[in-house]
Amino acid sequence: MSIEHRDDTGARFGMWLFLYTEVILFSGLFILYAVALAKYPDQFAEASHKLNIYFGTINTIVLLTSSLTIALAITAIQRNKIKQTLTLCIITIVLAVVFLINKYFEWAAEIGHGIYPGSDYLAELGPGITAFFNLYYFTAGLHGVHILIGGTLIAVVAAMIAKGKVTSDRYTLLENSALYWHLVDLVWIFLFPLYYLIL
C-alpha cells in the first residue's frame, strides 16, 4: 500500500543541512582557537613549531587525493562503470586509513615527548602552549573521528554498489557520502594551516 516516493533533490538538500551542522560543530573549536590565539600569540607560534610539518603536509596531500578519487567515483557511476567506481571507492578508503596511520605515528611521537592533554610536561611549558596543544588534540581528534565515520560510510556505500543497490540512475547515497567526505577534507584544509603553517 505504500506509495513509492523518491526525492533525490530532497535527499541532497537534507545532506547540505547536515553539513551546516558539522561546520558549526567545528566552529566551536575554531572560536576557542581564535580567542586563545589572541591571548597568547607568541606561545602559539612557539608551540606550532613543535609540530612536525612533514606529517601534516603528507596528510594534506593524502586527503586531497582522496577527495579527488571519491569525486571520480561519482563520475564513474554516472557512466555506469561499476568496477571503476568500486576501485575508486576502495582507493578512497585506503587513503583514509593511510591518513589515520600517519596520524597515529605523529601523535605517538608527540605523546612520547610528553605532549598530551593534561600532561605535566605541558603544564611546565605554560598556559599558552597548553592551550595550543589541548585544542590541537581535540580538534584533530574530532576530525579523526569524522575520518572514521566517513570511511565507514563509503565502505557501506561501496558494498551497496557491489550488490547493485546503488546504481547509475540511483546514486544519491554515493553523492551524499562524497559530500560528507569533502567536508572532512575541507575541515582539514583549515586545520592544517592554523596549526602547522601560519604561526
Binding site: 500500500m1 505504500s2 506509495i3 516516493h5 526525492d7 533533490t9 530532497g10 535527499a11 538538500f13 537534507g14 543541512l17 547536515f18 551546516y20 551542522t21 558539522e22 558549526i24 560543530l25 567545528f26 566552529s27 566551536g28 573549536l29 572560536i31 576557542l32 580567542v35 586563545a36 591571548k39 597568547y40 606561545q43 592533554p117 593534561g118 603544564a123 605554560g126 598556559p127 599558552g128 602552549i129 597548553t130 592551550a131 595550543f132 589541548n134 585544542l135 588534540y137 581535540f138 574530532l142
Partner: protein, 541 residues
Amino acid sequence: MTNTTLKSTGFYSESPRSGILGWLLSTDHKRIGILYLGCIVAMFLVAMCLGLALRLELIAPGPTIMGPQTYNATFTVHGIIMIFLFIIPSIPAAFGNLVLPIQLGARDVSFPKLNLVSWYCYIIGAILAISAVFSGGGAPDTGWTFYVPFSTQTTTNVNLAVTGALMLGFSSMLTGINFVTTIHRLRAEGMGWGRLPMFVWTLYSTAWIQILATPMLGITLILIVLERVFGAGLFDAARGGDPILYQHLFWIYSHPAVYIMILPGMGVISEIIPTFSRKPLFGYWAMAVSSLTIAFAGSLVWAHHMYASGMSDFAILIFSFLTFIVAIPSAIKIFNWVSTLYKGSIQLAPPMLHSLAFIFNFAIGGLGGLALGAAASDIHLHDTTFVVGHFHYTMFGGTGFAFFAALHYWLPKFTGRMYNHKIAVISWALVFVGFNVTYMAMQAVGVQGMPRRYYDYLPEFQTLNVVSTVGSWVLAVGLIIMFVNLWNGIRRGGLVGQNPWGSATLEWTVPSPPPMENFGEEDPIVTKGPYNYKGVVADEY
C-alpha cells in the same frame, strides 16, 4: 461518555507490522508522533513531581524534607528533564510529527527512517539522563547549565547526564533537518508559501534554529566530557583556558534554544485563536516574518545571561540592545492575536482557554524578560528567584500552556474521541490560577532579594514562599485532573467527526484518526488559505 467503538481506527490498525514492533519499527509520522507524545508526557510528570518536592522544601527555612545536596541534585534533574526531555521536543517533535506532514498535504516527512532514528536518539538520551541519577557518584548537582569549573570538578555523575543531553541534541537536530527538507520539498499542489498554516511557519523557524544552534551545544558538551576525562584545562584560566568562554559557547546554543521552545507554541496559538474566533489570522505575513525574525534576532542575544560574569560594559550595552530588539517581533505576535480576537465570534472551548492563558502569561513573562534584559535592573535581579519566575512564565506559562492547548485541540483528531469539556474547563482554571500564584509569588520574592538555587532562606522571605508552595499544589491538582480527563477522553470519550472545531487547515479534512499515508489514493490539491473559514462547518460531537 459512550462506549461505542470507532468506525475506523486509521493508523492504529493499518501497519505493515503488527503488535509492539509495528510501533517500535514504524516510520509513519503519526506513530512516531504518538511515541514522542507518550514519552514526553511521562517525562513531564516525573519532572513535575521533582518540582513539587523543590517547592515543598522551600515552604519553611532550613531543611524540611531534604538536605542541601539532595536539593541541588533535585533542581538539576528537574531542569535537565524539563528542558531537554520535555520542552524542547514537546511541541516540535510530538505535534510537529503528528500534524506537520498532514498540514502540508504530504504522506510523511522527507526522511521517515531518519525520523525514527531521532526518536531512538531521544530514548537513548532519556535513558542516559535518568541512569545518571541512579549510578556513579550520584545525581548531577551542577544545575542544567553545567557551568565550569564546577561541572568539571564535581564527583557526581555529570558524564552520563552530559552524554544524554548530547544524544537529545542530536535527536532535535535530525528532526530539524527533516522538517526543513519536508517543508521545502513535500508541499502539496497549491500549497504555496503564502498558504502555509502558521504552525508550519513556526516549525520552519524552529527547525532552522535546531540546525544552526544545536551543534554548538554538541561541541560544548563534548568538551566537558573530554575535560573530565583528560583534565586538560580547556576551561581553566591557569592552564590557558577560559571559564567565561564556556558560558559563551553554552548560551550560543541555549539562548536560541528558548526560541526552539517558544516558537512552536506560538504556532499552536496562531492555529487555535483564528479557529475559535471564526476569523482569519490578523496579519498573516507579519506573523510569518516575525517568526523568522525571532529565530534570527534570538540567535544574537546569548550574552544577556552573563551580565554579571565580568564582560565589558560595551558588550553588555550591545547585548542589551539586541535583547530589546527581540521584544518587537514578540509584541507583533501578541498584538496580532489580540487583533484576531477583535470582533470575532469567540467560542471559549478548552483549547481556546489555554490559548488565552498563554497570551496573558507570555505577556507577563515577556515583560519580565525586558526587566532582565536591561543591564541596570539585571544586576539587581541576577540569580534571584525572579529569574526562575520569569522563565517559568515564558516556558511553562507560554510553551506549557501551548502544549496543553495543543493536547486539547489535536488529541480528538488523533484519537477520534472527545474529552469532557466541563472537567477540562475546571482543570484549566485550576492550572491557570495555581500557575500564576506559584510563579508570581516567586517573582515577588526574587525582587525582594531571595537568591535562586538556595535550599535555605532568611525568615522574612517565608510568607511569599508559602504562597508559592500552596500555589504549586493547586497547579498540581489542576494538572492531574487535566491529564486524567484527557486519558478518559482517549479511552471512552464520545466519537468525533473529521472536523470537530470547524478549522480550515488540511488535517481536519481527513478522518479522525487519520489513515496510514493520510490522504488515500489521491494527493490533495489546495485551493484556499489556512484561515479561510467560508463554508467550513464544525461537526457535531
